[in-house]
């Protein structure tokens, strides 16, 4: 199997035109921060500049949509920022291209205590045994539900479903006319469906890839059963007919509009729900699991990385150390901080957040395979195939498994 490192070398030799950006100067660093956190990024930059008058931080607000492509293009051309926020799922593929700076020594030098970081988050930044990014944000999905609807359906709003069987019962009881029991994702970006369905496969002992990542286990009974459980919500009419166009945002909208009673999402949804429909009585709970088994969930989050081609790595490192301080990390994150010591901050103590925090204990990283994006696309196509009625879960997943195997050999 060819490695991505060789690809980058090839690009570098094939394109001798690559030049330095030219305008970056010592004492100046450029930071690509996604739009949704850019206001806080600017505040942090100002605070840092106060402490380090000889370094200027240019915060570049970047659109989260398409950011992955832009970072890729930047890494391949060598015209990069000095510091960039990466979703944890992209980190290893980017590290594999050789475009990110290896950080083990740097972290030692800066005295950042890696044992304080959530181990699963550190895994998302580790490639070939070396660290290529510094996790700053970590999150896991939990279940969000409408307490009033529970009561109207005669369910106990204080004891939400804990097992799959209970979830199905509740979903059925909560479905009534234009109101649907449980919203699942079947559209939008691939990751929406991965984040909401793969945990069920894991809980059941299944998954998309085996541990060694040498073949797909989607055609195994445990995986098929979990896929049937997930897609069954639409087949049974407990998920809205718009399922195939629903991503995370759409599910939240449906929840706010009172069209679905339960769905799965990250804690960031609680803020929007409270803003847009303050009257909604929202409950949160852990993800339901098969009877007698543990729940599971995908670890979401973001990491800081310094590109290998960065102009000003030295000052970027100084700034990174500043950002890694627990209070700054706790301030910057949209969800939870990757550093456990930052978890004590006031903003993470809301009781509604407790299930999200508990779910972090069951969080696993997505498989760190270099073909993961393509594999997850194939899996998503298979799930959509089931949802539109192209075939049964067993047929579609067997076919998907053989396609993935073709990619892995």
């Amino acid at each position: 199997m060819k490695t991505k490192t060789s690809r980058t070398c090839a690009l570098a030799t094939a394109l001798p035109l690559i030049m330095a950006a030219g305008h970056a100067m010592a004492g100046e660093i450029t930071w690509w921060a996604p739009e949704f956190g850019a206001d806080r990024a600017e505040e942090l930059a100002a605070k840092f500049e106060e402490q380090n008058p000889d370094i200027t931080v240019n915060v570049e607000r970047v659109v989260a949509n398409g950011l992955q492509n832009r970072v890729l293009v930047a890494l391949q051309s060598g015209n990069t920022p000095d510091l960039v926020d990466l979703a944890n799922g992209w980190t290893i593929p980017f590290a594999a291209t050789g475009g990110l700076m290896q950080m083990d020594d740097l972290v030692d030098e800066l005295g950042i205590d890696m044992s304080d970081f959530l181990p699963a988050a550190v895994n998302t930044a580790t490639y070939d045994g070396a660290l290529y990014a510094l996790p700053f944000r970590a999150e896991a999905h939990a279940m969000i539900y409408n307490k009033d609807m529970f009561e109207a359906a005669g369910l106990d709003a204080e004891s939400p479903p804990e097992t799959w069987a209970e979830l199905r019962e509740a979903a059925e009881a909560l479905t009534d006319g234009n109101q649907y029991g449980y919203g699942i994702a079947g559209g939008g970006e691939v990751s929406n469906t991965i984040f909401r369905s793969l945990p069920f496969l894991w809980m059941n002992g299944g998954g998309i890839l085996n541990e060694e990542m040498t073949e797909s286990i989607l055609d195994e009974p445990a995986s098929i059963e979990a896929v049937e459980f997930y897609t069954g919500f639409l087949e049974n009419g407990w998920a809205p007919p718009s399922t195939l166009e629903n991503d995370g945002t759409a599910l939240r909208r449906l929840f706010i509009a009172g069209s679905i009673a339960m769905y799965q999402s990250g804690q960031f949804d609680l803020v929007s729900i409270a803003e847009e429909n303050p009257d909604l009585d929202v409950g949160t709970a852990q993800l339901p699991h098969p009877d007698g088994k543990d729940p599971a969930v995908i670890l979401g989050g973001w990491n800081f990385a310094i590109p290998e081609a960065a102009e000003n790595k030295e000052d970027a490192a100084t700034f990174l150390a500043f950002l890694a301080e627990p209070e700054n990390m706790g301030f910057y994150t949209d969800t939870f901080p990757a550093r456990q010591s930052a978890m004590d901050m006031e903003r993470f103590q809301d009781p509604a957040l407790a299930p999200f925090r508990e779910m972090l204990e069951y969080a696993r990283q997505q498989p760190a395979n270099e073909n993961w994006v393509q594999i997850s696309q194939m899996y998503f196509d298979g799930i959509q195939g089931i949802l539109v009625g192209d075939g049964s879960a067993e047929e579609m997943m067997s076919e998907t498994a053989s396609q993935i195997d073709g990619l892995l050999q």
């Binding site: 035109l17 293009v73 847009e276 949209d334």
Partner: protein
């Protein structure tokens, strides 16, 4: 005389239907832009906003980078349109009026330019712009947009120039005018509808372009409006009201521009030329 004109009443229902079909999505966009988020997601949808609000517009105009992106869009679109027009006028005249060696190859190159899938050329194009030091500059985007606008502009003008009788030019050439002079003084004024079409086409294409801008404009000094529109789509919260308001803000100037061009467009200069 009555036999020379046709009755016009069947035109009106057809026109009314046409207007409804073309304008409805735009109207719905406008209505949605005045709705608050909670009302956008209501069943059944409301035709008139219950609590109409300027919030979305205020957000777009004062709380975002949209005004700056607007300026960038104007500069880049105008610059690219001007260059495309100048190059296209010369090239189309060359193609329309002259036969020369390599002409077929030249046309082929232009067709290829039009056909090249955008997705396939972003990485090499990025490298070229980087090498020229034009990444994240107005000029870089202006040049990149020529790929999108120049080939078609050339084709559009070729067909217009061919529609203009050569005899008009020949008379002038006999009078001693140079070919460039003939082009500028005789052919071009007769081709105004075509020129206007090229302007509108090039301007709109560059105004609306998304993928190149996303890759080649790295910060707010060069980002264009479509990118600004996308910036409302934050990771977890799509602010549709603001997106709709920004869309209106983006659309109105272009509609006005078109309205202004309309007179030139329908002025019948071509008809006058062929009759004259």
């Amino acid at each position: 005389m009555a036999s020379r004109t046709r009755s016009t009443w069947p035109i009106y229902p057809a026109v009314a239907l046409l207007v409804v079909i073309t304008m409805f999505p735009f109207l719905w966009m406008l209505i949605s832009s005045f709705k608050q988020l909670s009302e956008l997601y209501t069943v059944p949808p409301t035709w008139i906003p219950v609590a109409p609000s300027w919030t979305n517009y205020l957000n777009v105009l004062f709380e975002s980078n949209v005004p700056r992106y607007f300026l960038n869009s104007v500069i880049i679109s105008a610059g690219s349109t001007a260059i495309a027009l100048a190059l296209a006028i010369l090239a189309s005249y060359g193609f329309a009026r002259f036969k020369f060696r390599g002409r077929t190859a030249a046309v082929a190159l232009i067709i290829v330019g039009q056909l090249l899938p955008t997705a396939a050329i972003i990485v090499p194009l990025y490298v070229v712009l980087n090498w020229l030091g034009l990444l994240n500059t107005y000029l870089g985007l202006i040049l990149a947009y020529l790929i999108l606008t120049l080939p078609l502009s050339v084709f559009m003008l070729i067909s217009y120039f061919r529609g203009i009788p050569v005899e008009l030019e020949e008379a002038a050439i006999v009078d001693g005018a140079s070919r460039l002079g003939v082009l500028l003084r005789i052919t071009l004024p007769l081709s105004m509808p075509g020129v206007v079409a090229v302007i509108v086409y090039a301007f709109v294409t560059t105004w609306n372009e998304f993928i190149f801008a996303l890759c080649f404009a790295l910060d707010s000094s060069t980002k264009t409006l479509p990118i600004g529109l996308a910036e409302f789509t934050t990771e977890f919260n799509t602010d549709w009201g603001a997106v709709m308001a920004a869309s209106v803000v983006m659309t109105v100037p272009i509609a006005i521009l078109f309205l202004a061009m309309q007179r030139l467009f329908v002025g019948g200069l071509t008809a006058g030329g062929t009759k004259g």
